[in-house]
Symmetry: C2
Subunit: 116 residues, 2 copies
């Protein structure tokens, strides 16, 4: 499961001044992009330790296990960092729906272009 | 093409204090997540006007048409905002490769979990 290098890998990530890194979340089956959230180092460690997606809630200012109250948990399959290591992606199995509005994905407001 | 409401839609987006919004970029055919970039209002307007992905380069501090020099342009098919309108997604046809390293996607550094 690639856990040997967790410390090295996390230490190599570039967190913002407020200690956060953006996390793109993609469903492994549908490949839909479900949400964009933020993690701090603790949230990433909790994700690696538990196999379930954890984030930092910027509004509630606390560590947040996605689905803790709603049941819409995200089992994490893989985590990748981007080329400059200032963004990561969680590829997940989404239980239920990702969006608190009841939509499957948070990205449901079309601004421009074709319906997908 | 949904262009009638561009002003309303852009005005409803939540930009950061520095005037930026994160942009998830997904390939329409493979559905791979290619990169995470940032746009300001001008970059979004240019994207809507031209149909090609524009961003704000935080390192170079300038408007940036993806692929302007490399040829790895992104034809934009659709743009969606998320539920709280503080992140958007460009769904694109990627010409060539997305990453400046020569990789197809910028998210090519596995930190944890299964190989995808």
């Amino acid at each position: 499961m690639g856990k040997l290098n967790i410390d090295g890998d996390i230490n190599n990530l570039k967190f913002s001044e407020s200690g956060l890194i953006p996390v793109v979340v993609q469903d492994v089956k549908t490949r839909d992009v479900l949400m964009l959230a933020y993690a701090n180092e603790e949230a990433i460690r909790k994700t690696f330790e538990t196999g379930y997606a954890h984030y930092w809630s910027r509004s509630r200012k606390k560590l947040w296990k996605k689905g803790e109250t709603s049941g819409n948990v995200q089992k994490v399959i893989s985590v990748y960092a981007d080329c400059d290591r200032d963004a990561i992606i969680y590829v997940v199995e989404q239980n239920g729906k990702a969006c608190h509005t009841g939509e499957w994905t948070c990205f449901h407001n079309k601004l421009w272009g074709e319906d997908l």
